[in-house]
Amino acid sequence: MFQILHGINVDWMRRRHIAYWVSGLCMAISVVSLIAHGGPRYGVDFTGGTLLEVSITPAPQIDEVRDAVQSAGFQGSEIQRLDKPGQILIRLGTNETAKDPSTTVRAALERMKEGSTVEVLRVESVGPRVGSELRSAAIKAILLALGLILVYVAIRYDWRYSMGAVVALFHDVFITLGAISLTNKEVTLTVVAALLTVAGSSINDTIVVFDRIRERKQSLRREHPQKVMNIAINETLSRTIITSITIVLTVLALYFFGGDVIHDFSFAMLVGVVFGTYSSVFVASALALETQLYLERTTAGRKK
């Protein structure tokens, strides 16, 4: 039998305070990054605006492109060179008067240089009102997902556990958001999809550990809760790690081979899955233990 992490007997819960510091630090970095960047950097999906990916042959200078876009009346546009030569991503600045920004810019790029051809690879253009609608829809979807998960966990488990699971969930999603902000990536529709999936898979890991804790609590009723949790965590650790490995393998494949369009999605998933694994032990279980110990102290205090 080829095994990893079998028969280990680590007192995870005694070291939970280290984890609190790690989590606290990661959360703090996320908060600082979000504040420094003035909140999440929303993509055109949510702010409204136009994103244009073009391929120009022969490959032009970036300044030529900038001038052409500016002459078409779009001030403050961001222009970025992509991997392939001549492939350029343009994020248009606002221009209230332009009725059809993508066509206007394309025409300007075609005029830029004699004999160059412009192929429009991708256009994403979202009106400001649709952008704000998508934003509120995204927030509603996240709240709905969290709400559904909370209700489910609350029905299936003791509330003492649910609280730890919920905190772990927020922890994971928030740190993923922080990582996106830190790497200066945009929050787009696909990134929101990744955040929701992170929420789902984060709670998934937690549930597996909780299931085992519940099982062990019945079989080891006399033991101290801390010991019960350690046993349960150690027993499920190999599964927790292996599942994360398989998911991370596929996410890595998406990250390295899936192309630009889902690059940010895979990045968010990667961060989320890693933290989801960590938090199921160090946040969810640790907090469940904290709650339990606290309750025992107070009821014990009352008894005296």
Binding site: M1, G127, T197
Partner: protein, 540 residues
């Protein structure tokens, strides 16, 4: 093998057969050469001229309907969310405006010739148009966005025109008040409006240089805002730039307020190259009016011989010919500096009628075909690498049992694809990501079970008991953990549109099938294998 095992095996085989049957058209379709595929996509049996053709095309159309469709992000295409501006409509008109607009846009696109366009009404005043495949994006947008309100109006005489321009001048001076008092005696201060023009009221036209057009427009808007006299007549620009004294500019016309007739009386319209005698070969559009429209047209032209008749499209004057004599048969033409494509578009929009209200594009997502192809290749690559890594890991780590998990995984993906074909779901790039992620998550169920079996074995249970216990104990956890991911996928399905929904769809179908394959089918394989041999060891 017990009877119930045999039944399970039978059911599984039937399931697999159904899956393969459902996926067969998809396989056929994607095995074709790109040219053949294009033919299938374009097949329109209702357009066939004879029975043999119709049958052949019907077969192709059926194949197209049964194959898994690629989303716009993979095959390339346009996603346009349109908003109908109902602000200027009455309550009664507003009620049907969106449906009418959708019908008209559908007509236009049908004439343009796009394979499988889709039109959906969204909410109160929006229309979602999806145009897959290769197409001229700009042309499609101009076809959809044009209101195409065709009106015929009489051009005011030079005296009337001059009188109106004078009044605009006076109104502007009054508005400007003391502000421009410093230069009160100069021509431009007394006549702020007229002075912008190179020539005024010559055969009804007033010519301004192109760079002044915007300024003139804003003056007109300012006057219109606080005086009512402009309501008696309208001002409209010529649709095309022209040259005077070697300088380019546009002509402004003063027109009668009410149209003599409107474009809904147009019966047919064609692009033609022989309309302009001065410029043979220049594209233009000839149109024929309905008999009722033709009668009105005859009356109107008869009553206005000697005056100019402006043919106005979306408030721009396409041409303003002199009425030489009464035109009895209701035929007319529009000429100007069109390209052939523009003339073709104009003919299409005239034939399909005017939109009841202006339509704006509020969201546009376009993916060019080369990026789509690139995404397909990258998605497949990522899927292959991801699946390969997971398979390798499972087989190395769990050996023969790992192979069982891989078999379950294959059936999972097969079932997922078959469901997509069966439900006519669309495969998008995030959808592919969902499938790849399903691969990673699906084995989780088997990992849970196998780890449990290993534990039971360590507790000195027999192989059979370990398998039984492993499955029984892991099942509830698998259910719980899949449900939570499903819940977030449901939220995503409800919120997301297009590609994102594709992700939620593939992920949820994948996880639902996972509960059957990873638990049921893998158990069946174990049972079949272990019961027959009375095994005492297991490769796990």
């Amino acid at each position: 093998m017990t009877q119930s095992d045999r039944n399970k095996l039978f059911l599984t085989l039937i399931g697999v057969a159904i899956c393969i049957y459902t996926l067969w058209p998809t396989f056929q379709f994607y095995a074709m050469s790109p040219a053949q595929r294009q033919e299938v996509l374009q097949a329109r049996p209702q357009a066939a001229t004879n029975e043999v053709d119709r049958e052949r095309l019907q077969k192709l159309a059926d194949l197209r309907d049964k194959a898994i469709k690629l989303g716009l992000d993979l095959q390339g295409g346009m996603y346009l969310l349109l908003e109908v501006d109902k602000s200027k409509l009455g309550a009664a008109e507003a009620r049907n405006a969106v449906d009418q607009a959708m019908q008209i846009i559908r007509n236009r696109i049908d004439q343009f010739g796009v394979a499988e366009p889709s039109f959906q009404k969204q909410g109160e005043n929006r229309i979602l148009v999806q145009l897959p495949g290769l197409l001229d994006q700009e042309r499609a947008k101009s076809l959809i966005g044009q209101t195409a309100l065709l009106e015929f109006k009489i051009v005011k005489t030079d005296e009337e025109t001059r009188a109106l321009l004078d009044r605009i001048d006076q109104a502007l001076v009054r508005q400007g008040g003391g502000a421009s008092a410093a230069g009160a005696d100069t021509f431009s201060a007394q006549r702020p409006f007229t002075s912008r023009f190179l020539s005024v009221a010559q055969a009804g036209e007033s010519f301004a240089l192109s760079e002044h057009v915007a300024a003139i427009d804003s003056m007109i808007a300012a006057v219109r805002a606080d005086s009512s006299f402009l309501f008696e007549s309208t001002l409209a620009w010529g649709a095309h730039e022209s040259e005077r004294e070697g300088r380019t500019g546009r002509s402004l016309f003063v027109l009668s307020k009410d149209p003599l007739m409107q474009g809904k009386d147009v019966q047919s319209a064609q692009m033609r190259l022989d309309l302009d005698q001065e410029r043979p070969g220049a594209p233009g559009v000839s149109f024929t009016l309905t008999s009722r429209g033709g009668a009105t047209f005859a009356d109107v032209t008869g009553a206005n011989v000697g005056r100019r008749l402006a043919i106005v499209l979306d408030n721009r004057i396409q041409s303003a010919p002199n009425i030489i004599e009464r035109i009895p048969r209701g035929q007319g033409s529009i000429t100007g500096s069109f390209t052939e494509e523009e003339a073709q578009n104009l003919a299409i929009v005239l034939r399909s009628g005017a939109l009841p209200a202006p339509v704006h594009v509020v969201e546009e997502r376009t993916v060019g075909p080369s990026l789509g192809q690139d995404s397909i290749e990258k998605g497949l690559m990522a899927g292959a690498v991801g699946a390969g890594l997971v398979v390798l890991f499972m087989v190395v780590y769990y050996r023969l049992s790992g192979l069982v998990a891989v078999a379950a995984l294959l059936l999972n993906i097969l079932g997922l694809l078959a469901c997509m074909a069966g439900f006519h779901a669309t495969l998008t790039l995030p959808g592919i990501a969902g499938i790849v992620l399903t691969i990673g998550m699906a084995v989780d169920a088997n990992v849970l079970i196998f780890e449990r079996i290993r534990e039971e074995l360590r507790n000195k249970k027999t192989v059979l008991a370990a398998i039984e216990q492993g499955y029984a104990r892991a099942y509830r956890t698998i259910l719980d953990s899949n449900v939570t991911v499903l819940l977030s996928a449901v939220a995503l399905m409800w919120f997301g549109s297009g590609p994102i929904r594709g992700f939620a769809v593939t992920l949820s179908i994948g996880l639902i099938i996972n509960m059957i394959t990873a638990v049921g089918i893998s158990k069946m394989i174990f049972d079949a294998w272990s019961l027959r041999r009375k095994v005492s060891t297991i490769s796990i």
